[in-house]
Symmetry: C6
Subunit: 222 residues, 6 copies
């Protein structure tokens, strides 16, 4: 198994991007798996020595995952692994990568390995700006990545050297739906994106009524 994979497709594996030191970037692979839970209820756990903001970003991603899988995940344990981060993970810019890897793992839908991505996430699925966009894009290009997803609000920060401009296509996005549209390779693309958009529109009460029929009901007379 090679740590660098930049072509083909894989379930549960996403090429994230990290800033290293002051002025360089790195491809940071993130893997996810979902398994039947060993406990009474599901958990989401991430390894790779995540520091405080990174750990909080997993909590935010979990909101997206619970919403966008459209499944009752109470019987699943979700495992997230930052590969090779023995000196720790800082920040929340891997949020879109983590969300994509987890949704891929739960749904069994492959991820394009020639795509790398960076972006923070709101709990409602908005892609928020990150730091080091230029360094990250250049690192992706050098590693052989063909497409880099970045937050739309970072477009103005991108000042990559001329030689990288033809190597990678930059795709700015504003929502997790757009990220999934670029990175995932479902068997039936249209049906999958339609499902994702339906889930994004549902209120919590509508969702709970669909999942269980008995939850989130209004108090009679209230």
């Amino acid at each position: 198994y090679e740590l660098t994979v930049v072509d083909g497709i894989k379930v549960g594996r996403v090429n994230g991007l990290a800033v290293v030191g002051q002025d360089s970037g790195q491809v940071l692979p993130i893997m996810a798996e979902a398994t039947p839970t060993q406990g009474a209820t599901g958990t989401i756990v991430a390894t790779g020595l995540l520091k405080e903001i990174a750990q909080e970003s997993i909590t935010n991603v979990s909101a997206i995952v619970k919403k966008f899988t459209g499944r009752d995940i109470r019987n699943m344990d979700v495992h997230i692994q930052f590969i090779g981060t023995y000196s720790g993970v800082e920040g929340d810019s891997a949020s879109v990568s983590v969300a994509t890897a987890v949704i891929s793992a739960i749904e069994g839908i492959p991820v394009r390995q020639d795509v790398a991505m960076t972006g923070s996430l709101s709990v409602r699925g908005n892609v928020l700006p990150i730091g080091g966009a230029t360094y990250k894009i250049e690192a992706a290009a050098k590693a052989g990545i063909k497409t880099v997803i970045i937050p739309h609000s970072n477009l103005d920060d991108v000042l990559i050297e001329e030689r990288y401009k033809d190597m990678v296509e930059i795709i700015p996005v504003s929502t997790i739906e757009e990220v999934l549209d670029v990175a995932l390779v479902p068997e039936r693309k249209e049906a999958f994106m339609e499902k994702i958009r339906n889930l994004a529109r549902m209120t919590p009460a509508e969702f709970l009524e669909k999942v269980s029929g008995t939850s989130g009901k209004k108090v009679p007379g209230a």
Copy 2:
């Protein structure tokens, strides 16, 4: 996605207000989402590096949310996110913003984005005074906000410069019901406010009897 949004309406997003340093304010967006729970029971979790008083304020807000949604939320996880607070959140003055964002998310009712708000909350829904009212109002005005909700007990503290006076309308409030009345845009305004007022009047025992029929019953003969 732009971090500053000062017009239109959005579900689960509220423009809060924070004091920065000694003498300036800032618009602080707060987002919320409610999802089917992954665990056996619902949780409320907030990210954004909340310090002790801020974390306790989430606990207080949860009392309001459990009461004012009028729903059985045992199957929901509530996610609250302070956007961009990478150096932490202090104090409890965002309580009204958090409560409004969460109720918006659970009910699927949009929030006016031209409104900003600040205020602490009691567990019974009273709006309590906060610090830095003037700085916060001026920051809201500068950002393009049209209406600022502040605690009634802070009215005397407001000494804003002349040039801001025509830019923003200041609305003093005493209860969370008044905040929701100004900030939320439900499809049927009257019915929604009527529901909120009914919930505010209910005792816990009445509420539990409505939700489950079997809880909170009196001990026979006691």
Copy 3:
């Protein structure tokens, strides 16, 4: 909403009393609310930066609450809030105030706001002595309070200045039942106090048999 309320009645709000510094007292409002639980089972949570002894006093109060409400509170979350204690709460002298606020909130019975109180509590409902009785009474008088409840065992400590003597009535008490008798304003006073006294007399086994019929049963043959 004003932080100082010294007349009328309110559900779930009690005027406690605190010592500030070495030689002065302060009215310390305490609020409580009980809501349907979001979790599988009920919790009791208190905010206001409680230090160790204050936190333990909430645990002791919870014994009283579980006993004196006469309800199955497994589906309720109880929220307690010390208002404005941004530099923390020390000691257990607010125990009677907390117990009164919580019982008021659960039962929906209003509390007299012209009454202030101080006193520690045993897990069996005895009112135990506190410090600073004189400072607390004087602070209550200055704030406009008409009646101050203190522990009977503190009567000898009270040395208030002449000018306060006509301003407040001091009521010494030995049990939480006496506190509730003075401070609560139930619709049917006699029936309520009779219920409280019945609950005080019940053994745990009798109580459990009334609540569920199946718990606390003796082991057959033992």
Copy 4:
């Protein structure tokens, strides 16, 4: 309510004994109450700033309580309170006092207040030696206590001054059964002690079969 009670009987209250400083003793009241649980299952909680060994002693006492009440206590919360120990509780010599207070509270059987006691407990009900026996006995005598229960293995340590010898009777004990025999005042003494002795003889499997019929069963064929 007076902190010192040395005559009559009370449910859930025991006069323990503590060493204070290097060479004096003190009567240390301990109170207990058992209430219907607010959570899904019962808990045992002790307040009074217990340090590590004291906290562990509560764990050991819980083994005794679970065994000697002969009840299914899964629906009970047990509250234990060391009265007035604002500078903390060290050591495990209050174990017999705690066990007696809790059993009294659960069963509704009064405790003699003219009795004070000291002694550590094994998880099987043996009374183990403690320190400061002489100081503790003298403090009990001075406070007006008539009978002091001490561990049999401490008999040789007792060197009390002549003047105290006629004031208190010293009763050495080896088991918690003997402590309960001296301190509790059940309505039907013989029946109660017979029940306690039966429970002491039962194996866990026999006990579980009596309580639930379905637990602790042998694996068929094993």
Copy 5:
């Protein structure tokens, strides 16, 4: 109750052995009791100020206990007590003593008190080497113990003084089954050891099928 017991038999009590300082040993009594659980599920808890390795050894012992009792222990709380270890317990050499005490307590089978033992345990029941074998054996002999169980792999370390050689018999063991064979005094020895050996041979899946019939089942078609 005397702390030193070196003859007769007792349920739930084992004479362990500890090293004290650099060059001496000590008999360390360990007691256990199993009670109906107060919580929803069983727990194993040990007191006596156990340090990190000692605490982990309890976890390892729990694997043995869950396997070798052949019972569904979900309704049992297991209490383990190191007697008199007020300055803490280090290391895992008491593992065999703890396992023996707990199995004795759960099954109601007495332990020989003229036997002392030392040995670490693997989670599969192997007896692993310990330190200080010679000091421990000499301490046992001096205390009046007649038989000392040690790990087979420690046999070469034993260099006891001549005068102790006739005082104690040393029995080297390799498995917990051998320990139980020496130390326990069941009513029907053959049947008990047969049961223990059957349990040792069972796979987890076989065990779960026997206990519940519904657990650990294979996934159909997998």
Copy 6:
């Protein structure tokens, strides 16, 4: 019981490999057992003073175990023990050893003791590179091990001395399936490996449907 075992087969025991100091290796035995759970739900617990990365590696291994046993393990507690690591365990290079020991224990399938192994694991079963490959192989050879499993990506690092080359066979692997193929000795090899490969191909949803029939279902209409 000898700590070093390098021939025959054993259930639940694997010869791992560790780096000691700067430039030497060591055989590190790892044992596992699975037992009926004492709690409501299963847990995975590891002892041996695991430091942060080692503890996280157990979390990652648990994803593999939950997936590759093909069993509902909610009623099992999994115990993992690093033997003799009294100064702690660092790093994640024992992941393949732990996974193999646990799967062996749960399935009751023996492990070859003449095999030693080292390798990190992704949550999806990829074998990732480790440090100290050469030192570990030499240590295995010296201890009498005949076969050493290493990550394929470490092949280039292996520079063992001539004299060890004939002593051990080195088997490079890329997935946990390959590790199990070399190390386990099931009764019916083909059927076991077929089962493992089927499990590896299943999506979480397929798995959950097989285990329970009711979990992970799609939301109707989504």
